[in-house]
């Protein structure tokens, strides 16, 4: 394998790093080298140990074995604070900000501009607004972070890290729920920093992004280092097999999956018909009908209201006008419970706070929704539980495959899988999935897409939201395009429909869809 002969000394060098968690060897004898002015991709399946490596480096976890050298001298950080002081700024996987503080504070807290020890709020707001504009984001920086969607929170986290970064910038799956143009913005910034000689660690499951931005990559598998490569010298296929460990033509599969035949459309019974549904401040009135066995994809820019639309259909937020009808009968949606009674399932984009329950085990998390709908008095027999849980642990390849591990100890991607499993076992009539493939590795992604396609084949309706347009195109029969919180158009996913066509629709916002 092509060891690079770099001009200068590595700025960061980790050798023989090991980390053991009760029951899991997260890292074993991992070497990692990072050079100034490079973007270094950290690749691996879900649970390979990428985040752990990063957390060990920045002192979140204390290191069990091995050494860390920064600028040639041994270091061992007792926490992110020290790491930051040493010039390493990190965006950890999942959003780790304070939802109860304003956007501006989240960017500057700990480094607020001060005069005579007093924080200068006005200056802070101005500068954070500027920073965000640098990422082409135009937010009200005085608003609470919690009031923004995950995607936007992710951008804020990036803005903070970028502004802090001194020598090393670490980004753990920063793009997982960003759409193409955000990613573009981010990459622009990364390129600039790179030119300024910063060393950047980049984690992503989007191979294209990696090939687009990274210079070199280190591949992990099951906590061990597979190797270190120049991106240019390693074709995607080889990379994938390096990550997965077997010659698996995932990529081909991904490409091959031909568009679902729109023929099947309209035959099926309508599962859910929403008419003139709207919610003030969230989304304009829209009408949407989803038929049996139909996959409806939502396309739109970040903040266009996809999540809002989904939340309304599940009554996670109450609609303040419009009607819902399941099959033939019209229903007043009192809350998620009502939706579930009519066979609707919703997996939130915000898996950390709205998805999995970290304190509970994998098993408990998977059965949670089903149990809830059965009511507390009718527990699911243990045997049945094991059956279901094992089935989906296998089907989605959740690791570690032990149903009794706490979900909070699972890797990000695996948590996402657990969340998906939770809803699949309820065998819903309509499955609403908001960013279901967020932070999921190539193999599993293909798996999930196949699963969804198959389920819709068996008659389940799916509402599919993804920041990755290609994915939407690949899966959906019908594509609903949102813009500025309005449902502007619904296209049948015929062969002439492609990414550019949709982007064009979004841009033009040609409102053929009904609106008030």
């Amino acid at each position: 394998m092509g060891e690079p002969t770099p001009a200068q000394e590595p700025i960061l060098e980790m050798t023989g790093v090991g980390k053991v968690f009760p029951g899991v060897v997260a890292l074993a004898d991992v070497d990692f080298r990072l050079y100034p002015g490079e973007v270094h991709a950290l690749m691996g399946e879900n649970g390979a140990g990428k985040s752990t490596l990063i957390k060990v480096l920045t002192g979140v976890y204390d290191i069990d074995a091995g050494s860390i050298r920064l600028n040639g001298e041994d270091v061992r950080f007792s926490g992110p604070l020290q790491a930051q002081r040493a010039g390493i700024s990190t965006v950890y996987q999942e959003v780790n900000l304070c939802p109860n503080l304003s956007v501006a504070e989240n960017i500057f807290i700990g480094r607020e501009p001060r005069r005579f020890g007093a924080i200068q709020w006005r200056r802070m707001r101005r500068r954070s607004a500027e920073l965000l504009r640098g990422l082409d984001l135009d937010l009200d920086v005085t608003a609470l972070l919690g009031s923004y969607s995950i995607a936007i929170q992710q951008m804020v986290a990036i803005a903070r890290a970028v502004d802090i970064s001194a020598k090393v910038l670490i980004l753990d799956e920063p793009t997982s729920s960003l759409d193409a143009s955000e990613v573009e913005q981010l990459f622009a910034v990364m390129r600039r920093l790179k030119r300024e000689g910063l060393a950047i660690v980049f984690v992503s499951h989007f191979l294209d992004q990696v090939y687009d931005i990274a210079d070199r990559m280190t591949v992990l598998r099951n906590g061990k280092r597979v190797g270190e490569y120049r991106v240019a010298e390693l074709p995607q296929a080889q990379l994938v097999s390096a990550m997965i460990g077997k010659e698996l033509a995932v990529l081909e599969e991904l490409e091959e999956q031909e568009k679902p035949s729109t023929a099947a459309l309209e035959q099926g019974e309508p599962v859910l018909a929403a008419t003139g549904v709207a919610r003030k401040g969230a989304i304009e009135p829209f009408s949407l009908t989803i038929h049996q066995g139909e996959v409806v994809g939502l396309a739109g820019l970040l903040g266009s209201g996809r999540t809002e639309l989904a939340r309304l259909l599940f009554a996670a937020d109450k609609a303040d006008q419009g009607t819902f009808s399941f099959g033939t009968d019209t229903v007043s949606m009192r809350g998620p419970r009502t939706a579930m009674e009519h066979g609707v399932a919703f997996s939130s984009e915000n898996r950390r706070t709205e998805g999995v329950v970290g304190e509970l085990t994998v098993r408990e998390n998977i059965v949670l929704a089903l149990q809830a709908s059965r009511g507390w008095a009718r527990p699911i027999p243990r045997g049945r539980q094991d059956e279901l849980v094992d089935k989906y642990i296998k089907a989605l390849d959740i690791r570690p495959a032990n149903p009794d591990t706490q979900v909070r100890n699972l890797s990000g991607g695996n948590q996402q899988k657990v969340l998906l499993a939770r809803w699949l076992i309820t065998e819903p009539k309509l499955l609403i999935v908001d960013e279901p493939t967020r932070g999921i590795d190539v193999g599993a992604k293909a798996e999930i897409q196949r699963l969804l396609a198959q389920l819709s084949g068996d008659g389940m309706a799916v509402l599919f939201i993804s920041a990755e347009l290609e994915e939407v195109l690949r899966l959906s029969h019908k594509i609903a395009v949102l813009r500025d919180r309005r449902l502007v158009e619904q296209l049948d996913n015929t062969d002439d429909v492609d990414v550019d066509r949709i982007l064009a629709t979004i841009a033009s916002g040609s409102a053929t869809g009904e609106d008030s």
């Binding site: 979140v60 204390d62 007792s78 998620p336 939130s348 709205e354 329950v357 809830a372 527990p379 100890n409």
Partner: protein, 355 residues
């Protein structure tokens, strides 16, 4: 070490150790502390006293456990104890024949129903109105005491009723009735929470309300149930408490018991932040606290030292229980790694506690 590890790491290991130590320490002061013999037809001995004496606390702690599991808290238990005791004793004292079993049963029934109503009151304030638990229950803590005094007219209501007396001071099959009652309630609670899905749903709501809601769990109903149950437990405790002294003391009954109850729950390994709960732990905690009190009497610790004594025990116990403390202080020779300053979020520590 390695073979012992699972036992030592068990959540209840240290409380259990503390309990044993306390019990044993009593031997220094009264040689036959562990002696349990049959005296006029029933078991008699310090251990029996401890069990019987701890029943009110056990019950209250039981209710408190579930409330805390939903990330709530119930400060009103003491007042509920007072009210229930007052009502029951009042009803009994008004009987023409205080020894009529039916009359007493009626009184008890009324009292229990009342306790449910009081629990419901808290539940509604928290679940329906959405007031922060600590304040919601503070209202009943303050007002309830007043109501109890109103009922007793600030006096102590005496009853001379052997059936009523049996509840708290009587024996059945040589075993204190109070203990039997408490055991029964605990057993029911364990069955309800662990044999049905109640426990799981409560833990889910407690550890992540939002996620639970989106999973279709009806948090409000659960919260309501939990507070009603807490009220019920406090009610039964109130009956035992008042019957034990055949009188209702509206002014003092159950005062400050909420602190001991919460302490018991936490010693039992349930976090006040909600989520995972352990009924067994709370029971152990309650018995531990009662043992602590008894030890103080037997050892003749003078009044002015008791609080210090308690403080020391609590601190030592909590430290022993804290995995972080163990790794930081004893961790050195176990594994040769420099202990880190500051906590390590997501590190196995919480995992162990919540195991």
């Amino acid at each position: 070490m390695s073979r012992l590890a699972p036992i030592v790491r068990h959540r209840l290991f240290w409380p259990a150790v503390a309990l044993v130590l306390l019990l044993v320490s009593n031997l220094f002061f009264s040689a036959d502390f562990f002696a349990v013999r049959i005296k006029d037809g029933h078991l008699y001995g310090s251990l029996v006293d401890i069990l019987r004496g701890s029943t009110p606390l056990v019950l209250v702690a039981l209710g408190m456990t579930l409330v805390i599991a939903t990330a709530g808290i119930d400060l009103s238990v003491g007042s509920v104890i007072a009210i229930v005791g007052a009502v029951a004793c009042l009803r009994v004292s008004e009987l023409d024949d205080q020894n009529s079993v039916t009359g007493v049963l009626a009184a008890v029934a009324v009292a229990v129903v009342l306790s449910l109503v009081l629990g419901l009151w808290n539940g509604v304030l928290v679940a329906a109105v959405g007031i922060q638990p600590i304040i919601a229950t503070l209202i009943l803590l303050v007002g309830g005491r007043g109501i109890a005094q109103l009922i007793t007219d600030g006096q102590i209501i005496n009853v001379r009723s052997s059936p009523y007396r049996t509840i708290g001071a009587g024996y059945a099959l040589t075993i204190p009735v109070a203990v039997i009652i408490a055991a029964a309630v605990v057993a029911v609670a364990v069955l309800l929470t662990r044999r049905t899905a109640l426990g799981l749903l409560i833990e889910s709501v407690g550890s992540s309300p939002t996620a639970s809601r989106l999973a279709g769990i009806q948090a409000r109903r659960l919260t309501l149930i939990v507070y009603v149950f807490s009220g019920f437990c406090a009610g039964v405790a109130g009956l035992i408490y008042s019957s034990n002294i055949s009188s209702a003391d509206g002014n003092n009954a159950g005062a400050l018991i909420e602190l001991d109850a919460i302490l018991a729950v936490v010693i039992g390994g349930t976090a006040l932040t909600g989520g995972r709960f352990s009924i067994a732990g709370s029971v152990l905690g309650a018995v531990l606290i009662q043992t602590l009190n008894i030890t103080i009497y037997t050892a003749g610790v003078p009044g002015r030292f008791t609080l210090l004594f308690k403080a020391v025990v609590v601190v030592v116990l909590c430290l022993a229980q804290s995995p972080t403390f163990r790794t930081k202080v004893f961790g050195r020779w176990r594994r040769s790694k420099p202990p880190t300053a500051g906590p390590t979020p997501g590190a196995p520590a919480p995992a162990e506690v919540a195991a």
